[in-house]
Symmetry: C2
DNA sequence: GCAAACATACCGTCTAGACGGTTTCTTGTC
DNA sequence: GACAAGAAACCGTCTAGACGGTATGTTTGC
């Protein structure tokens, strides 16, 4: 009988740990490596323990999705609150969440979401609705052609990052961010 | 003993069929559905037959990669040949291959590549080298900041397509393509 | 004492791949 | 152009292990 059984119980912490481990695994070893065995073991919990928090694998991925989008929602809201200029406000927040150092921690997790989305066709509907909501909420300020273009570029930049494509050097990257930001005001 | 054993042999056709089926499966049912059993069965070949052409699963994915990048290379070269203006020529070819109806057939297959890339960390190195080569080959004409930006936007647009994000209406899409194309000349 | 929070043991299914056999194709030889 | 002989292109079967999930026990907190 393992000691884990005797430790103090922190259900919420364990749940969080499971989600984080699942994210980390998916990022580092590919989505195929996210198995119930691997996740539970890496989180220091038995598989039964995992299945107590998430009754099946899909609900684990679903939990991951909710977790990540919630964090993203909060990060975006924070950024938008600090931006006095209405025009392109959402798009600028979008840029900074992905590419500024403060947003980095969450940016990493975002990669996981894409991986999960691509591997799990089932999650795409949730994704669709989530994007749709964002577009609708900011239709007045961020539906200019260039704003859309900028957001797509951010997505592409981030995909390149995810796939490990050759990276720009720091000055070029900075210039790119400036240019993107400028386009949100044009 | 089945009749299949006695049929005419068309090794190259079978090989191609296997790759196409793998691509189709990955697109429609997610990368997890690309199993040796599923692929071989859908291609009308036994698993042993599949393993004759591709000695293991990784080599199947690798074959898929080669197949797709070759097709892409040719499509890009075709486009570039028809473009008299040197500046941004590669980037414009990049746009058209992804978003013009003639490029659509290959565009579909490109999606598969991303899926494979994300799920298979091993393929990323090949991807990296491939991208690097393209960048190096067109460093004179297509390394302007806006050209990079356009290519990233194309990637993002295509990712949105892949994930089934809400799509633009046709006129907006056309305007977007115009705008992207214009930016390659600025 | 009772429910929540775990652990342990186990099962059916699926998967990648090995293996040995069978049929067709190709090539050299006369 | 006939024919042997090896190479290439398959097929069908089998297996070890991984995986998702179930069933049941044990501990802890209130």
């Amino acid at each position: 009988m393992s000691k884990a059984h005797h430790r103090k119980k922190h259900p919420e912490a364990v749940r969080q740990q499971l989600l984080e481990v699942a994210a980390k695994l998916s990022l580092e070893k590919g989505p195929a490596s996210v198995t119930l065995d691997a996740v539970s073991q890496a989180a220091g919990v038995s598989k039964g323990g995992l299945l107590h928090h998430f009754p099946n694998k899909l609900s684990l991925l679903d939990g991951l999705f909710t977790d990540l989008t919630d964090k993203f929602d909060r990060a975006i809201a924070d950024r938008m609150r600090d931006d006095p200029e209405p025009k392109g406000r959402f798009t600028r927040a979008y840029i900074s969440v992905f590419f500024l150092p403060e947003g980095l921690a969450d940016g990493e997790k975002w990669k996981v979401l894409t991986v999960a989305l691509i591997s799990e066709p089932h999650l795409r509907e949730r994704w669709r609705q989530w994007v749709e909501r964002y577009l609708a909420e900011n239709v007045g300020t961020d539906s200019a052609l260039d704003a859309m273009l900028v957001r797509y570029a951010v997505d592409g930049l981030w995909l390149a990052d995810l796939l490990g494509s050759p990276t720009m050097d720091a000055p070029t990257r900075a210039a790119m961010l400036d240019r993107l930001s400028a386009l949100t005001r044009s």
